[in-house]
């Protein structure tokens, strides 16, 4: 299904601008839980959909924001290609625009790159009702400031993403996952030691008992790496990585708040009590525990990282989702927000309070 509703979206934003009505931007609604609570009139990009251009030999795909991620991934798979950042869907309706706006990447992220690394260009609708185009469909482009990557993870607060061009990559011909039983300290040390070796690693996680190490590439290279590493071959690895990406593993089930800690990957296990799941070779750690937010934040900051309340339990007291910004950085954020959305109508308060 393909339709271009950019004119309607532009009219809706201009009307909201004239009336100073806040808008909450929605694609497939699969990541509504993410970030601070949305409020305002819903403006939906779901009908703004369709792949505009896909050239497998150019390694570039351009699609409208409302295009389902499934559609894009299936199209790429037909040509033996993929979105290298392995975006989590978190629901059947997940769209391209939502994947970029939320800036979330899956298990392959430390080895292939994040969403922002693959964004080549965007068309956005600003809070002033203007449609602007940044970047393009080529891999090297340094004309003008990089406003395209700026949209990744901005949660729509700078503009409604209308279209995006992404770099894509060939799917690896061969994949194998090895498991190793060890302690969390050993797991972190080993995952980082391996990552410093010329091995075709594409995923490294630790569930509290086992390290899961995914190797991807040509058959000969993967075979050579497996022979060097030892470990046990995982029989149903595809399912495991999918469930990890979608947070469907048992660890992610059940109530209670879920914290995400982003840390220098080799950081030894943290002394904070609670249940841990380690992904991204140690760089992304999930924590379920009842500690006060301040304690978790202070610990992550001291270790050179940051944290976010990824999923908030309904029974918890409401508080900030993302790590507060130091004052000089916060003031640049507010000025940038004003540069794109001077009247604060796009997803106000979704990222930080007050703007």
């Amino acid at each position: 299904m393909s339709s271009d509703i950019s004119a309607q979206l532009q009219t809706a934003v201009r009307e909201a601008l004239a009336a100073r009505t806040p808008l909450q931007i929605e694609g497939g609604g699969s990541k509504r839980f993410y970030g601070r609570s949305p409020h305002g009139t819903v403006i939906s990009t779901a009908q703004h959909s369709g792949v505009i251009n896909y050239e497998p030999t150019e390694l570039v795909i351009t699609a409208r924001a409302g295009t389902p991620l499934n559609t894009i991934e299936n199209l790429l798979a037909e040509q033996g290609q993929m979105l290298p950042f392995e975006p989590p869907h978190f629901g059947p309706g997940a769209t391209l625009g939502g994947a970029i706006a939320c800036g979330l990447s899956g298990p392959r992220r430390p080895y292939a790159g994040a969403v922002r690394d693959f964004v080549l260009g965007v068309k956005i609708l600003t809070g002033q009702g203007d449609i602007l185009t940044f970047g393009g469909q080529v891999m090297k482009n340094v004309a003008g400031f990089d406003a395209s990557r700026l949209m990744a993870g901005a949660l729509g607060t700078l503009g409604i993403i209308l279209e995006a061009s992404l770099k894509v990559l060939p799917r690896p011909a061969h994949e194998q996952t090895l498991t190793f039983e060890c302690t969390s300290a050993e797991a972190i040390r080993n995952m980082n030691r391996w990552a410093a070796l010329p091995l075709p690693i594409s995923g490294a996680a630790y569930d509290g008992v086992h390290v899961y190490l995914r190797l991807s590439g040509g058959a000969a290279g993967v075979r050579q790496a497996c022979a060097e590493l030892g470990g046990t071959v995982h029989a149903d690895a595809h399912h495991f990585w999918h469930q990890l990406r979608e947070q469907q593993l048992p660890f992610f089930q059940g109530g209670g708040s879920l914290w995400r800690l982003s840390l220098p990957p080799a950081t030894p296990p943290l002394a904070l009590p609670g249940q841990w799941f380690i992904d991204w070779g140690g760089a992304q750690r999930w924590l379920r525990n009842p500690l006060p937010a301040e304690v978790i934040r202070a610990t992550a900051a001291r270790l050179g990282g940051h944290t976010m309340l990824f999923k908030r339990d309904e029974t918890d007291a409401p508080h900030e989702i993302f790590q507060p910004l130091p004052p000089p950085l916060a003031s640049i954020h507010r000025r940038l927000k004003a540069a794109f959305d001077p009247h604060g109508i796009l997803n106000p308060g979704r990222l930080y309070a007050n703007w």
């Binding site: 090297k140 004309a143 990089d146 990957p265 991204w280 976010m308």
Partner: protein, 495 residues
């Protein structure tokens, strides 16, 4: 010739400003005499020259902070400079501004092999990072041809590329964190050893910002494991079109070569005459295709890609016999610019990116333009990522030739935009491509760029007049972006 756009009113000549600088800098760190300023009159784009008002050479962050605060107080423009190897005039001085040289910030502060990153100062040379971490089996991936000389701070400011971008990305993909000083002297910490940071991706915005948003004082670079093996194929083709086709076939077969470079006949002959590396001088085009990875992986892929190149019509495919020959064949490519410099008194290096499939027609059109302007062109091409470097040969001593070369170059860039590409892949806009920015972007986008700059630099004193043209310049430039059939800037008078 382009000049930076209008600069703000400045009080550089106010004796109180100089006096205040003397109070915060050692005497040898402040250059004021014309003969001391001479070496700073240009960067790698030597056709543009201007003596700066003065040069500051701080060696501590506190000194940089003090300089910036004084510049804010006295409204003096600041042009940051690393090694001065930039190719678009980004570090071209302003007569009424200071050059803030970061050359003394040349320390590697920390190497963290387990987290695979290093904290370095902006004046550290690109290659020095790789040399410093080699004993850990790690390296810093982006390798612009100037890597012996260029500084990492300049690499961030320009978002530099190199010959390995298709697989390993640009500078923006290989930097984890920055410490940036604002004109107010505040320090912004963007990212670090973790893989992401809260808030907007300002780290991305700083890459390629050409000194307009802040002064970078520290960089955390990502380090990668050195591949177990790299192997190079050299393929000769009887036509550029066939070589272009072969590139598309390699990629659609699922290979991502570490490097994939193309040279046309004039570039091949120039490089061979200069470097004597054994290039096929009769070929219309050659491809250098490097594959890296584990030993087994490379063996497998070299065989497959070799078959593919032969099937695509290569007249000869040669595999480097050993590491020595591999490096020699690369040396020819990396010396292409100086090699072309030997066959003509001057050359003008262009830097457009195009969708790869348009290569044949773009090269054809460049050849036609070359005949029209009566100026030869040698083409080197980062074929994997579509980044084209036509080198226009001219003689600056012949009246009018520089102007003709610039006009020709401008037309090449506009051609790149017309086929869906961009006016600069990795060299930046600087002062050189201010005019072509008007072709690539409509007024609304240019205004948005100015708004982004304003958010970081409300006084407009950081490298003013570079990278983003004023709307007035675009109106005067003439060859404007025509959007939806409407002429841009209807409100502005024509000249």
């Amino acid at each position: 010739m382009a000049h930076p756009d209008a600069t703000p009113a400045t009080h550089l000549r106010n004796p109180a400003f100089t006096q205040a600088l003397r109070a915060v800098l050692p005497s040898q760190a402040l250059l004021l005499d014309a003969e001391q300023l001479g070496p700073y009159e240009c960067d790698g784009l030597t056709a543009y020259r201007q003596l700066p008002g003065m040069v500051c050479l701080p060696d501590t962050v506190e000194q940089v902070r003090a300089i910036l605060r004084l510049c804010a107080q006295y409204r003096v423009p600041v042009v940051a400079r690393g090694a001065g190897t930039g190719l678009s005039g980004g570090a071209l001085p302003l007569a009424e501004g200071i050059i803030l040289s970061l050359a003394k910030f040349n320390r590697i502060l920390e190497i963290d092999p387990l987290n695979r990153c290093a904290r370095v100062e902006p004046g550290v040379r690109n290659l020095a990072i790789t040399q410093a971490v080699a004993n850990h089996g790690l390296y810093y991936a982006p390798d612009p041809s100037s890597q012996i000389a260029c500084s990492i701070g300049g690499n961030v400011a320009e978002n530099s590329g190199g010959v390995h971008c298709l697989k390993y990305g640009l500078t923006v993909h290989n930097v984890l964190g920055l410490k940036v000083l604002t004109l107010d002297g505040d320090i912004l910490e963007l990212g670090g050893a973790a893989l992401d940071a809260p808030g907007y991706d300002l780290l991305a915005v700083l890459h390629g910002s050409e000194g307009l948003l802040g002064i970078i004082v520290e960089i955390t670079v990502k380090l990668l494991p050195k591949p177990e093996r790299a192997q190079l194929l050299l393929a000769a083709f009887a036509s550029v079109a066939q070589a272009g086709e072969a590139v598309g076939q390699i990629i659609s077969a699922g290979f991502i070569p570490a490097g994939l470079e193309m040279m046309d006949n004039l570039a091949i002959r120039a490089a061979e005459a200069y470097a004597h590396v054994g290039y096929p001088v009769d070929a219309a085009a050659l491809l250098l295709c490097e594959l890296d990875g584990t030993n087994q992986e490379v063996s497998e892929q070299i065989f497959q890609v070799r078959q593919l190149l032969l099937a695509a019509g290569a007249t000869d495919v040669h595999t480097a016999r050993d590491e020595q020959e591999r490096l020699k064949l690369w040396a020819g490519r990396k010396a292409a610019f100086p090699a072309v410099g030997r066959i003509a008194p001057d050359y003008y290096c262009m830097d457009g990116t195009i969708p790869r499939k348009r290569l044949s027609e773009v090269l054809q059109r460049i050849a036609e333009l070359s005949a029209e302007y009566n100026l030869p062109v040698a083409n080197v091409f980062h074929a994997g990522d579509g980044n084209l470097h036509p080198l226009i040969l001219y003689d600056a001593n012949k009246p009018g030739e520089l102007a003709r070369a610039e006009q020709f170059g401008g037309q090449i860039l506009e051609l790149c935009v017309a086929v869906g590409g961009t006016i600069t892949g990795e060299h930046g806009v600087g002062v050189e491509k201010l005019g072509q920015m008007c072709t690539q972007f409509a007024p609304l986008e240019l205004q948005q760029f100015h708004a982004i700059k304003h958010a970081f630099d409300p006084l407009g004193l950081l490298n003013p007049g570079k990278a983003v043209p004023t709307l007035h310049r675009c109106a005067e430039f003439g060859a404007m972006h025509v959007h939806a059939g409407k002429l841009a800037f209807p409100e502005i008078e024509r000249f």
